[in-house]
Symmetry: C2
């Protein structure tokens, strides 16, 4: 009998997050699962790694049994450390989530959930990030099923090198979900505002607020697919090159940007 | 007379870093400059933003004069706060750097320097990130000139929306620099290793080490341009969509990924 695939699970909400627990239960139906995740909540850490301080690792127990390893670091630290130092076997897949909140459009670049998945692909392992719109209907079970179905498919069919599937699930009961849309990353972004306040010593502080400014209209974007009741799957990668403008620069800038050093 | 452009300068090495100081001096020759940068060193923070705690801002003086504002946060926090709360006028350009060390290939996604620039473009302002290979010849003056020449060019000619110029300067005396290459982000990545050690209480800790594994050979990549003695300018953006695989998914995956929820 063929050995079951090994899946490394991580997240950015912390190893004790309900989204991670539900995900692990769902993946265990067809795979072996190792959990290595941040010991505490790490939202909006982007693709941070810890280079100036050492990393500590603790066993994390759940219901009296070893559930996984908690890392005093970021999501990317957790995945890097798992693959390079903690696991005895290279995993077949990294799954990060289920995040408590969407990771769509410009949010993707701030996302710790996506960064854990990205770290998997940097180390040569296909990866999935999965997030649930939790504002209305925070039930992780539907998203966990979506994760398992996709994970099984990826274990069987693979992904191209350096590719992450960024999955977002709408906050709807299973029956109301219309299906899957393969999407691109939208361009909606935060309309940031800062509240300026005074502390008890009368000193200023600033607190980030503001709301998402939905500018996407095309139904091939993550943002619109979700709004229309679909699970959104966007293939993303970490090649940030702006190829279109690269061509333009080569044609137009060449020779004009003189370095008189 | 036309008003001089306003440039917002930030970095990830902290407001007291020599690279930032040299950059500001160089930009002041043709522009007005506002400095808003992290109060302390923030390397490898990726595109982190602070959402769970308030941000504090302090005036930072240099040679008895107000030099800029130090933010107790990340590079992205600094730029966001500057544009949305601190500056009275929207800057014409954001310049982040000069980083003490290269930001090429896969390193770009971990880079606080690049994230400060990215935050500028998210808020609709063209942006430049500039980094110097400091391992051999840590002289920021050449890189500061490169930054000023490019910044002046961008102030005059603009950039497409959502575009960052990621500039890397080789550690060479001015005369040995061969010119400018317009490049794409390379695929070289870290060959991570962790040192596992015992602390005085005999508990394990892990420290990230390892070296860059240079796999790029094409001379249109950032990595190779630098090696050949050129300043590398890569246009990058934050659309992470893997368009090539997106097409393939739409053709091949459609209908195969059944959600039986």
């Amino acid at each position: 009998m063929k050995k079951k695939p090994l899946i490394l699970v991580s997240n950015d909400d912390g190893i004790d997050a309900p989204g991670l627990f539900t995900l692990v239960k769902s993946l265990k139906k067809f795979a072996r699962v190792s959990v290595v995740a941040p010991s505490i909540q790490q939202s909006a850490v982007g693709h941070a790694i810890t280079v100036r301080t050492p990393l500590r690792v603790h066993e994390f127990h759940r219901d009296g049994k070893l559930f996984g390893y908690a890392v005093d670091g970021t999501p990317a630290d957790s995945v890097k450390l798992a693959i390079r130092a903690l696991l005895k076997e290279k995993p077949n897949l990294v799954v990060s989530g289920i995040n408590d909140g969407l990771n769509t459009a410009v949010n993707v670049i701030y996302s710790g959930t996506v960064s854990a998945a990205t770290e998997g692909t940097i180390l040569g392992i296909p990866a999935i990030a999965i997030s649930l719109e939790t504002s209305r209907h925070p039930d992780f079970i539907v998203a966990a099923k979506v994760a398992a179905i996709t994970a099984k498919y990826v274990c069987a069919n693979g992904l191209p090198p350096d590719t992450i599937l960024n999955i977002n699930v709408p906050a709807l009961p299973a029956k109301q979900i219309k299906g899957v849309k393969i999407t691109r990353q939208g361009k909606s972004r935060w309309n940031d505002e800062f509240f300026q306040r005074k502390d008890p010593k009368n000193k200023d502080y600033y607190w980030l607020a503001g709301k998402m400014n939905i500018v996407d209209r095309d139904d091939d974007t993550d943002q619109v697919a979700l709004k229309n009741g679909y699970v959104s799957i966007s293939p993303i990668h970490f090649d940030l090159t702006h190829y279109e403008f690269l061509e333009e620069m080569r044609e137009k800038w060449d020779g004009k940007l003189k370095l008189n050093l």
